[in-house]
């Protein structure tokens, strides 16, 4: 789907990053201090997937800002959704003898050869955001990224709180707006949510309708409009991202119902517009999927460079937000 735009993503990426960088301020959750501690500046080679979404450009900006703040030298390259670009970027990092290589893999497989080269050159590799499948686990040190299944579980858990707070009684009829069919976040978020449902709420919760809204506002709006017709008794909406929830809210309003009251809404991501909707009382809870993993990545890079052992999967620091926290959290949302 994104392929046909490949040769444009570079130009757009530069523009998007530029636009973001202009408004990006100091990172809030940076754990380490400005100095790198050692005598020599750490050089980090980072290969990004591309710039396909607002989430991704926020991710890029975060990595760049955090590297600057930590005082690391960052070699950044945009792979424009192509594995071969990413492999050649990693090879060039190896020949430049950077201290640590980090990348968000475009695809899951096909990394063994280039990762072995990195290993032979004794350069540790850190994955961000997405994982890879390799024959040899020692080829990368760690993965810094979100756990989508857990986000689904957290959405289930926070729905319990939302229902309790709303004083909801009786059966819970859930409409689910899924992400793009086949995408990892869509599959895993649905899976996590279902786990909670099957474990604790087998009797009273039921997903009455579930359909893909392609992670877009227009999709969410149209699908929700159809849901409200076929199942007028829906009282909970679980959206796999904020944009679909925002679209759905408009359909709920057009049906003469009150989003956040007649239909309780839980969504995942935590983009700015999602928080705006939540502060207006239209979304009840948001489970954050944080693209701002730059500070955590720099922290990990420092530890890896110092030879410390790190966990195999460093999960992104993410929060769950209820309505009462929305207003306070809103000014800090930057994507």
């Amino acid at each position: 789907m994104l392929n046909r735009r490949n040769f444009l993503t570079a130009a757009v990426g530069v523009a998007a990053a530029g636009g973001l960088a202009a408004c990006a301020k100091k990172d809030d959750s940076s754990g380490d201090s400005g100095s790198s501690g050692g005598s020599k500046t750490i050089t980090l080679g980072f290969s990004q997937v591309g710039s396909e979404s607002g989430w991704r450009s926020a991710n890029t900006t975060s990595v760049k800002d955090a590297a600057k703040e930590a005082g690391y030298k960052l070699q950044f390259s945009d792979a424009q959704q192509k594995q071969e670009n990413q492999i050649s970027a990693i090879r060039s990092y190896i020949s430049q003898k950077v201290d640590v290589i980090a990348f968000s893999p475009v695809v899951v497989t096909g990394w063994d050869a280039v990762l072995k080269e990195a290993k032979a050159a004794k350069i540790p590799v850190v994955l961000t955001d997405r994982s890879v499948e390799t024959s040899d686990d020692s080829l990368y040190v760690t993965l810094v990224g979100s756990d989508f299944t857990d986000e689904g579980r957290r959405a289930g858990k926070i729905l319990e709180k939302v229902l309790e707070k709303a004083g909801h009684k009786g059966p819970v009829k859930i409409a689910q707006l899924e992400g793009t069919t086949g995408a990892a976040p869509a599959i895993e978020r649905a899976k996590g949510f279902k786990e909670v449902m099957d474990a604790d709420h087998k009797a009273d919760w039921k997903i009455v309708v579930s359909q893909t809204g392609d992670f877009t506002r227009a999709g969410g709006k149209q699908v929700m409009a159809a849901f409200l017709q076929s199942n007028p008794d829906i009282n909970v909406l679980f959206a796999h991202n904020d944009d679909m929830a925002i679209g759905a809210i408009q359909s709920i309003e057009a049906a003469g119902k009150k989003p956040g009251k007649d239909i309780l809404i839980v969504s995942i991501d935590g983009v700015k517009d999602g928080f705006v909707a939540m502060s207006e009382g239209k979304i009840n809870a948001i489970v954050e999927c944080n693209p701002l993993l730059g500070p955590q990545l720099m922290d990990t890079v420092k530890k890896v460079k110092a030879g410390e052992t790190v966990e195999r999967w460093i999960k992104t620091k993410e929060g769950d937000f209820m309505q009462d926290q929305a207003k306070a959290a809103l000014p800090s949302r930057k994507y």
Binding site: L8, A16, S230, D243, A254
Partner: protein
């Protein structure tokens, strides 16, 4: 349209009318929804406007109808326009980014200017397409591919790769607002369709378009300025796409350079084909296109309503489209139930419409069963 004195030939004339099969499929698709949504056809008042499935179908289908109407004329000249999706994205992005820069987003003058700006950009895209096709002699599919690919990049450039959210009441009207209890977009679509039909069927313009589509060189030799006609239809098509772009962005009050109008060109071409316009050019039906676009929108709504599993969405859509296209083909009809039907008509002097409608019903209802297994 054509009526004759005896019943069998009247029935035959009806089934042979170019709108018969598209309309039959549309009605059938609507009926399929009834078991799943019992009050599918009911329309009630909600929040000061009419509300119901039919209203939603027309509201969400409006942009597609517009794009498809523009596409019809391009296809009638033997061309094709793949750039409409990108034009949708550019128009929405320009209008929304202009409005979001205003201090008072609700100011009517600012909104009108934003819309004008968006539509101007759309028409320029159309002019470019027309120039490449008519003046440079580039194959339409290649010429319009340029903006299809590059245009979306431009839209993303305008929006900085972000989704621009606006909060403007007047802008919301065109794609998401209501007027006289009906979605305002219905009036826009009605106006565009009426103007198009008037221009093409009440003046010689339609004939000229068909002549150019039939044989551009011959029409030039008889004195038709075929190049100018071609440029005009591409500009008109882009204008329609531009209005659709305003509608789509207005509907969600946001411009999404990445996803607005994504793949709408394919749905539009499909709508045109379902409506009975020949891809070879030289013949077109605006009414058929409108019905075709409604068929596609109803199909989408049906998928959401009847609970097709998400993984099989596209298979289901494909199956229905195949059936519709086959029903459209006179050769296929003649081969499959031609002999049987012809015999029955001859013997009984025309079957009941209900009985005739049962066959396509069986065919379409068999489609989901096929792909579930």
């Amino acid at each position: 349209m054509t009526t004759s004195s005896t019943t069998p030939s009247r029935w035959r004339a009806l089934t042979r009318h170019h709108l018969f099969w598209p309309v039959a499929v549309l009605i059938l698709l609507l009926l399929v929804n009834v078991p799943f949504t019992p009050d599918f056809f009911s329309v009630r008042m909600a929040d000061g406007h009419l509300y119901g499935s039919l209203v939603s179908i027309v509201l969400f289908g409006s942009p597609l109808i517009l794009v498809a109407v523009g596409m019809t004329l391009v296809i009638a000249t033997g061309g094709i326009d793949l750039s409409v999706g990108a034009v949708v994205a550019i128009t929405g992005a320009l209008a929304c980014s202009y409005i979001s820069d205003q201090n008072d987003q609700g100011a009517l003058s600012g909104v009108l200017l934003a819309m004008g700006l968006g539509l101007l950009a759309a028409v320029v895209c159309g002019l470019w397409n027309g120039f490449l096709v008519a003046r440079m002699g580039i194959q339409p599919i290649i010429a319009t591919l340029i903006i299809m690919v590059a245009g979306r990049g431009v839209a993303q450039l305008i929006t900085d790769g972000q989704i621009i959210t606006i909060n403007s009441e007047p802008y919301k009207l065109i794609g998401g607002g209501y007027w006289l209890t009906l979605p305002f977009s219905i009036f826009v679509v009605a106006a565009v369709v009426a103007v198009t039909v008037a221009l093409t069927r009440r003046t010689a313009l339609g004939l000229l378009v068909e002549a150019v589509g039939g044989n551009a060189e011959a029409s030039r030799l008889v004195g038709i300025r075929s190049r100018r006609i071609k440029i005009m239809v591409y500009m008109f098509c882009a204008l329609c796409a531009g209005i659709a772009g305003l509608m789509i962005s207005s509907n969600t009050s946001a411009a999404d350079g990445n996803n607005a109008g994504l793949w709408i060109e394919l749905d539009a071409i499909l709508a045109v084909v379902i409506g009975g316009t020949s891809l070879l050019g030289g013949r077109f039906s605006i009414g058929g296109t409108v019905v075709g676009a409604l068929v596609i929108q109803t199909l989408t709504t049906t998928i959401y309503t009847i609970g097709v599993p998400t993984q099989t969405n596209l298979v289901f859509k494909a199956a229905v489209v195949i059936v519709v296209c086959l029903l459209q083909s006179p050769k296929f009809r003649a081969k499959v139930f031609g002999a049987k039907f012809a015999a029955r008509f001859a013997a009984k002097g025309g079957a009941k419409p209900a009985a005739a409608a049962a066959d396509p019903a069986a065919a379409t209802e068999a489609a989901p069963k096929m792909e579930v297994s």
